[in-house]
Symmetry: C2
Subunit: 266 residues, 2 copies
DNA sequence: CGTTACGTTGAAAGGTTTCAACACCAGTGG
DNA sequence: CCACTGGTGTTGAAACCTTTCAACGTAACG
């Protein structure tokens, strides 16, 4: 964590592969393809099954999108600098791709040589595994948000996360330039554009954020936003049924383990 | 795909690691811990960050759960025979674990030795990568479901998937024993228990499934269910705004690639 | 034979979506 | 210079679906 070495190839400081893998290893695996630029709207996709390429985002913001045949769309993830685009294959009746929301620089990694043979270091594989796993953890949060948060909670989580990830700290708070339309935001949050607009109006009136333009705003206090989100402790339960202890949190000290017992068996 | 070799250790036929990895490789990596049984309600979790263990489910059904401090719960995935439990770390204000819905047999894999050093084969790492990636694709589908499906579509997708995954084909259709309460189903589908009950009543009245008991039912025609789902082609759009071509599907022939162009720039 | 957990159903409340109208902006062309 | 046009964002009102709250039935259990 202390070594601030940036990737020799793309200069990205927080590259997931930075710590354990040198560019030379990728090169010997004929895996690294180097930097490519994508304009706003540029897409990355894969055909068929199995993940054969990864793209590390060096700069810019991209959306992982899935569209249904009837036109509905869900943005399943937002990818910013340092994240990895790990494409998923299209299921029946759906199409998935990654789309640049702002000009994006990506570093392409070809996994085919690694998966098919050769003998590559544990370090490079470990980095790949961590990259995929990080995406999995992001998806997990979004699943909880879409399944269990109401509109206001979703917007607050979204603004807080954007402020943290792409906000620029300044005297008045974190300034964010968000290259997304209301419809993009809606497709990320599982709402529709009008609802997003109304929620943002409420956010503005509550002074949780100040809007300079539809795509530029300032978050004065990220914690104030996060506290309107159930993932932050110390929040009173919303208009939900009183199921406060439906699921008791387990002991504070935990290790990786299994427990065979059962609280209430059928 | 042709070799039906089962894993030497657990006997699982469709083990993700079966094709390319022998037990001996895992053993030399000191990674495989062998079979463990979990009663209904038994849990698996991890503390701290980073994924250090995987569990391959040999038999039974398990739920990946995340709970919020106020008691809301989201089941972020269902794991059946052949799937891999890849734990996610707890975020602030949340707790995540895997829970056996029926008696479950798991095969534990310790990744620590592999991540930290040694020199293991590409095959074993490739299998790990595929396992995580498969989970990612499942999450992607669920994100679209939670963000964009209405209640009826969710139930139909759920029943079709359960029939496919754990249904037993017979003369009258696929018979499913589902060890989940209405509340479990609700927490998986982002609904509440009463709504699930009402939707299942509608499913019953439409003859899409016949219920023998609250946890046992028969799906006569999986395709009939799937057609009430927007992931299946040839379905008329629901009560949605007419955005039929908001996002045009791209050319039928595709390769892994990027396209730099832009349909409508800001 | 109470107790408890679970499932079903009804009625009212609540939040989101739909539909519509309007404002704003940038680009275009008369 | 200005009307026109398409894309985008905002706001209101009604419709719609899900949730909440409540009542009731059933099965398992001691």
């Amino acid at each position: 964590m202390s070594n601030k070495l940036s990737c020799e190839r793309c200069g990205l400081e927080n590259c997931l592969f930075r710590e354990s893998v040198t560019v030379r290893e990728f090169e010997s695996a004929r895996a690294i393809h180097g930097l490519t630029g994508l304009d706003r709207g540029g897409r990355i996709w894969q055909s068929g099954n199995g993940c054969r390429h990864l793209w590390i985002v060096v700069d810019g913001l991209a959306a992982l999108s899935t569209a249904l045949a009837d036109g509905r769309r869900q943005i399943t993830g937002l990818i910013s600098s340092g994240d990895v685009i790990c494409p998923v294959s299209d299921k029946e009746g759906t199409e998935s791709w990654a789309e640049a929301l702002s000009p994006v620089q990506v570093c392409e990694i070809d996994l085919r040589g690694m998966i098919n043979g050769g003998d590559h270091s544990d370090a490079i594989w470990g980095s790949l595994f961590r990259a995929t796993h990080q995406q999995l953890e992001r998806s997990n949060i979004n699943l909880v948000m879409l399944g269990r948060f109401d509109g206001m909670e979703r917007i607050c989580l979204f603004l807080a996360e954007m402020a943290r990830r792409i906000g620029i700290p300044g005297p008045g708070g974190h300034r964010v330039h968000l290259p997304m339309s209301r419809e993009d935001i809606a497709d990320y949050l599982g709402l529709n554009a009008e609802t997003v607009s109304r929620l943002l109006t409420r956010v503005r009136k509550m002074n949780l954020a100040t809007f300079i333009s539809p795509t530029d705003f300032v978050v004065h206090d990220i914690d104030a936003l996060a506290q309107r989100t159930p993932t932050s402790g110390g929040k009173p339960p919303p208009t939900q049924r009183s199921v406060l202890r439906r699921f008791s949190f387990s002991s504070p000290f935990k290790m990786d383990r299994m427990e065979a017992g059962r609280s209430s068996d059928k």
